[in-house]
C-alpha cells in the first residue's frame, strides 16, 4: 500500500523540471520531495511561503512555520514569506509552474473532483479550487481505484467538480494518462497489467499508442 504511493510519487517526480515552482497537495504529493534526485525545485505553500524545506528536528519546530498541511517545516535558502492574499496572487495568477494534487474523481477530459463527496458533509475546500484555477500545469497523483474499488478515472464526474480547468496528467500506481480535448490518452503502463486489464479497472475510455 505504502509502496504503491511511493511508486506514484516517484513517477510524478520524473515530470518535475529543475527550477520549477511547485505546489504539493496533501497525501501522495507530499512524498515527492524524497525522489527528486539532483533536481532543485521550489515548493510553494499556500499559507505563505515559497521555498519550503524538509521537516525540522524536534528542537527546531515552530508552530508558526508550517506547511499548508499544518505540519512543521523549514525554509530553504532563498525562501520568502508572504501573507495569504499574496500567496493566492501567486497561485491564482498563474505563477506556480505545477500543482500536484490528489483527486476523488477525474473525468475523461481531466476535470477534477477533489473536495466533496455527494451526499456527505461538504465542509472543506481549502486552496484546492484556487490551485485548480491557477496553476500552469496540474498533475493528479492518485491511487487508481477509490477505497470502494470504484475507478477514479471516469467518463463523467458524479462528484462535485473543483473547477472547469482540466488536469494535464494523471499518475496512478498502474499508469500515466494524459488529458486532451479529445479525451484520455494512456501514455505509460507502470504495473504488470495489460492495456486490456487496465481498461477493465478504468471508468473512462482511453486511447493508447497508434490505436
Amino acid at each position: 500500500m505504502g509502496l504503491e504511493r511511493i511508486k506514484i510519487a516517484k513517477r510524478v517526480a520524473e515530470e518535475l523540471s529543475d527550477g520549477e515552482v511547485i505546489n504539493l497537495g496533501v497525501g501522495i504529493p507530499t512524498l515527492i520531495p524524497d525522489y527528486l534526485g539532483d533536481k532543485k525545485v521550489y515548493l510553494q505553500s499556500e499559507n505563505g511561503l515559497l521555498g519550503m524545506g524538509p521537516t525540522p528536528d524536534d528542537e527546531d519546530i515552530n508552530m508558526d512555520l508550517i506547511s499548508a498541511s499544518k505540519k512543521p517545516i523549514t525554509m530553504d535558502t532563498g525562501a520568502s514569506l508572504f501573507d495569504s492574499s499574496d500567496s493566492f496572487v501567486m497561485i491564482r495568477g498563474g505563477h506556480v509552474d505545477l500543482a500536484v494534487m490528489g483527486a476523488l474523481q477525474i473525468d475523461q477530459y481531466g476535470e477534477i473532483a477533489n473536495w466533496a463527496v455527494p451526499g456527505k458533509t461538504i465542509l472543506g475546500v481549502g486552496g484546492a479550487m484556487d490551485l485548480v484555477a491557477g496553476a500552469k500545469r496540474i498533475i493528479i497523483a492518485s491511487r487508481h481505484l477509490a477505497k470502494d474499488s470504484s475507478p477514479k478515472l471516469v467518463k463523467e464526474l458524479t462528484f462535485p467538480s473543483s473547477g472547469v480547468r482540466k488536469a494535464d496528467m494523471l499518475v496512478t500506481e498502474h499508469a500515466v494518462f494524459k488529458f486532451t480535448d479529445n479525451g484520455t490518452e494512456l501514455i505509460e503502463i507502470l504495473s504488470d497489467m495489460s492495456v486490456e486489464e487496465l481498461r477493465k479497472i478504468t471508468g473512462a475510455d482511453f486511447t493508447y499508442g497508434d490505436e
Binding site: D64, L65, L81, P160, S161, S162
Partner: protein
Amino acid sequence: MEKLIDRSDFLKLIDNGDTLLVGGFGLSGTPLTLIDELAASDKKDLTVVSNNLGEEGRGLGKLLLTGCLKKAKGSYFTTNRDAVQAWSDGKLEIELVPQGTLAEAIRCGGAGIGGFYTKTAVGTKVAEGKEEREFDGETYILEKAIKGDVSLVKALKADTLGNLVYDHTGRNFNKVIATAGKIVIAEVDEIVEVGELEPLEIVTPHVYVDYVVKNKYEKKGGKYIGS
C-alpha cells in the same frame, strides 16, 4: 503604550451578534488569548470569519464548546469534528469559501473595494448563484468583499505605536484581517519600543491597529505552552 489594554477589557469591545474576523491558519498566527476570553464569556450569536476553526478544543475550536457561535465562514472545517458535529446538529451555520477567495475578499473589505471577479471556483457548487462574467474570453465569478465588526489578529511583536510584525507563516490571514474590521485588536508576544522594528519589516502599519493585548501564553519548544 496608548493602545495597550488588559485582556480582561477586550470583551467590552465585542457585542452579541458581531462578525469577528480572526487571523490564523490552523493554530498558527491565531490570537489564542483573545479566543480564551471569548470562550469564557457569555457572548452569543457571533459569526467568525477565519480560514478554519482551529482544532477540537483548541484555538477557535474552543468556541464550539461554549455555543457562542452562530456561523462560521472559512475554507476548511472538515478536520475539526466538533465543527462538523455542530453543523450536523443544526447548531452552526457554515459558509464555505475557497481559501484564496477568502483572503482576497477580506483584503477588498479593508481596501474600499466592493467586490471582485475571480477565476477560482468557476463551474463549481461554490459558484452557484454567483454572477458570471467574461473578461478577455475567460470566465470569472463575482465575489463580494468581507468586512467585520471586530478583527482579531495575532502578531509576534508590536511596537508602542502599534506597528506589527508576524512570525514566519503566522502572517497568513492576519495582514488582511487587520485592515477589514471596524475595531482591530492585536494579540502579541512582545511589545518593543517604537523604532525597534525596521520600516521595511513592518507588515501591518500602526494605522490599522486600535488595541494591543499581551499574549498570556509563552512559546516554548515552538508551541504556546498550555494553550
